[in-house]
Symmetry: C2
Subunit: 382 residues, 2 copies
C-alpha cells in the first residue's frame, strides 16, 4: 500500500509552463484530447453530466464536480467553482478549480493539482479540436466576444491550428477589450478591440467566432441577430448553466450545432434553445467521423462547448505524466491510511502511544491470558 499522493501546486504548473512552453503544452494537449475523443468508448468510460450547487449568498456562485472514470486508465474528478464577480471583486479568475486523480482499484488519491489554468487550457484545446473539423482550414479572422481568461486560451488554442491573421475582440467592459492585446502579446496576430457600436462589424468579418462571456443567466443572448460569413464557425464557450445564453436562436437554427456532451449541453449549453432533433452530432461523433463532416466547413457551424469532464481527465493525465518525467510536485501523505485497515485509530500506533492508549501492552495481555480474546491472535512481536 502506497499512502502517498503527488501534490502538483501552482509553482509546479508554472515550472511546467516554463520548461515545456505554453505553445508546446497547448499542442500536446490538443493532440492528446483529439486522440482521447477518437478513442472514446462509452462502453468502458463513465463521464456523467456535472452536478453542483448554485447559491446567491454571499456572492452568486456555483460549486460543481466533474468526475470521469476510464476503468484501469484511472478516475479523475474536478471540483470547480464559478464566481463571475471574482475578477472585479476579488482579483481572482471567475473559474477556480482543483483536479484529483484516483487509483481506480482502491480509491486512493494519486495526485492533486490545480485545475484553474488547466481548465482554461483544455477549453482552448477543445475549441481547437472542434474547429479543426468544422471551420474552414483557411480561416484567418478570429472574432472574440468576452475577453477574460477563457478568451486568452481560445485565441491561443486556435492560433496553434489556424493561421490567424487578425483578431477582433469585444468585451462589455471597454478596458478589458482594450488590454486583450497585451494578454495575448505572445501571439503574432494583431488584435483590434472594438466597442459595442462595432460589434456588427466584428460579427460580419469573423471566419471563426469565440464567445466566452460571464453573461448572467437570463440576461443573454450576448450577440445580436447577425448574418455572418457563410462559413462562420462559432465556438460558444460561455453557455454552461441553465438560462445562460450567448447566441441568438436564429444563428443556432441555421447552423450545424455540435455539443461537446449532448446530455449536458441540452441543460446548460446553447442547445437549451434547440429542439432535440435540431441538435447536430456531438464532439465524439464529429471527431470519430471527421472526414464525413468536413463538408460542413462551408456552411455555418457551432461548437457548443459546455466543458466536458473528459477534457479535464486528459489535461490532468498530461500534467501528471510531465510532473513525473520532470520531477515536479511533491509527495504528501494526505489520507489517514492506518497500519491496520480495520482500525482507524491505529494511525496513532507509535509504540509509546499504543502503550498509553491501551491499559496493558499486547505481550502483557498475552502472557497474563486475556479476557478479551486477544490470545486468539498471533502476536507479531513474539
Amino acid at each position: 500500500m502506497d499512502d502517498r499522493s503527488l501534490l502538483i501546486d501552482a509553482s509546479d504548473i508554472r515550472t511546467l509552463l516554463r520548461r515545456i512552453g505554453p505553445d508546446a503544452l497547448m499542442d500536446d494537449l490538443t493532440t492528446r484530447l483529439e486522440r482521447a475523443i477518437r478513442q472514446y468508448d462509452p462502453a468502458t468510460a463513465q463521464v456523467p453530466a456535472r452536478t453542483g450547487l448554485q447559491y446567491e449568498s454571499p456572492e452568486w456562485g456555483l460549486l460543481e464536480w466533474m468526475p470521469a472514470h476510464f476503468g484501469e486508465q484511472g478516475t479523475t474528478s474536478k471540483l470547480v467553482a464559478y464566481h463571475p464577480a471574482n475578477p472585479v471583486g476579488y482579483g481572482m479568475p471567475s473559474i477556480v478549480s482543483t483536479i484529483s486523480m484516483f487509483d481506480t482499484r482502491s480509491g486512493h488519491l494519486l495526485a492533486l493539482m490545480d485545475g484553474t489554468l488547466l481548465t482554461a487550457m483544455r477549453t482552448g484545446a477543445a475549441s481547437a479540436v472542434a474547429s479543426r473539423v468544422l471551420a474552414l482550414p483557411e480561416s484567418r479572422t478570429l472574432g472574440v466576444i468576452g475577453c477574460g481568461t477563457q478568451a486568452v486560451t481560445q485565441v491561443h488554442g486556435l492560433s496553434r491550428v489556424f493561421e490567424i491573421g487578425k483578431v477582433i475582440v469585444y468585451d462589455v467592459r471597454d478596458e478589458v477589450a482594450a488590454t486583450f492585446a497585451e494578454r495575448t502579446a505572445f501571439l503574432d496576430s494583431p488584435v483590434t478591440s472594438v466597442g459595442r457600436n462595432s460589434l456588427g462589424d466584428l460579427l460580419a468579418r469573423a471566419d471563426i467566432l469565440c464567445t466566452c462571456t460571464s453573461v448572467a443567466p437570463g440576461a443573454g443572448p450576448v450577440c445580436p441577430e447577425f448574418e455572418g460569413k457563410p462559413h462562420l464557425h462559432v465556438n460558444a464557450v460561455g453557455s454552461d448553466f441553465p438560462g445562460k445564453l450567448e447566441l441568438p436562436a436564429a444563428v443556432l437554427r441555421r447552423s450545424l450545432v455540435c455539443p461537446d456532451f449532448r446530455e449536458q449541453a441540452i441543460v446548460e449549453g446553447e442547445c437549451q434553445q434547440l429542439e432535440q432533433a435540431a441538435i447536430g452530432p456531438d464532439l465524439v461523433t464529429l471527431v470519430q467521423n471527421a472526414d464525413s463532416y468536413a463538408r460542413s466547413r462551408s456552411s455555418p457551424t457551432v461548437f457548443d462547448s459546455t466543458g466536458w469532464a473528459l477534457e479535464d481527465h486528459v489535461v490532468a493525465v498530461m500534467v501528471f505524466e510531465y510532473a513525473r518525467e520532470l520531477g515536479l510536485g511533491r509527495s504528501i501523505t494526505l489520507e489517514c491510511l492506518p497500519a491496520d485497515p480495520l482500525d482507524p485509530y491505529s494511525l496513532l500506533a507509535s509504540p509509546a502511544l499504543a502503550a498509553a492508549l491501551r491499559p496493558a501492552s499486547a505481550s502483557e495481555i498475552t502472557s497474563a491470558g486475556s479476557p478479551r480474546g486477544t490470545t486468539e491472535r498471533s502476536d507479531p512481536a513474539r
Copy 2:
C-alpha cells in the same frame, strides 16, 4: 486575494488526535454535530443527496461527492471512494476520502484535509446523537455486526454517551470479530466476539445494535429475522447504496425508522425497504424535537445512517479550527491564481520571462506607440 490553502495531512490529524485525545475529540464532535443539527435551517443551507460513479472494473467501487453549503459559514465537499475489497486486497480502509473547504465568496480552496478517519469519527458521532434521542439512557449492552473501521468509531461514539457494560460483536470473518477487542482496547468495556451460530444471542441481548458491514448490494439483509428487546435501538450504518441492506424488512416495519437524510435514505438506506408513509422523522426533526421523541425510547427504533454531508462539514470545520489553534497543517499554493485575473498565463510573469514571452516590454510598446491599443491602459510601472 489570498491564494494559499491549508493542507491538513495525515500527520497533522495524528498530532491532533494525540494532543487533544480521541475521547475529547469525539466528545467535541458529538456536541458540535448535535448543535449543527439543532440549528440546521434548509432555508439557508444546501446539502443535496450525494451523487457518484459506480464501476465494476478493475474492482467494484464507488466514487461520490458530498457537498454542503452553509452560506457565509462556508462550503465543503467530500470526495469519497468506497472499495469493499480494500482491507483484504490492498491493506486499506474500504472508505477513503478527502475533504475540501471553500471560501464561499470566491470559490477559493481554504483547506484540504483527510476525510478517511474523519468519516469514521463523524459516523460514530452521528450514531451517538441519534441514540441519545432514541435509545434508553440506561442501555448497557451493545451489539455490533460488522467489525471494520466504522465499528470502532460506532463503539467509541456510543461509549461516550452511554455506560456500555458489554459489547458483543459478530463479523462474517471470524478473525475480524476475534480481534475487535484489540482495536477497541482503549475502551473500558469488555468485548465478546461470537460466531454465526450465536448471532441470535447477540441480537436478543443488545440494548443498542450497530450494523456496519460491507455486504454487497443484493446480498443482504445481513441480519436474520429476530425479536430483540422491546426497546432495541439500531444504528444501521452500512446501508448506503441502492440494494445494499442490513436489516430485515420486518424489523424496520415494527420500528420507528429515522433517516439521517430522507432524500438519500430512500435511495440508498434501509428506507429503501419502506413505503414513504412508513418512514419516521429525519435526524433534524428528531434532534429539534428531542423531548417529544423521548417516548420512543421504550419501543423499537432504527437510525438509518447513510452518511450526511452536514456531518462532513461539521467535522471539517472542527479540524480546521483546531489546526489553526494548534498551528497544524501547512500553507500551500495549489490554485493558479495569476497576478492578472483575466490572463491565465500571467502566472508566468516573472520580469525575465515576461520579456522573453512578449516581443517588447510594456514600456517599450508604450513609448513607441502601440498598434495594438496598449497605450489605452495606464502602465502601472510608470
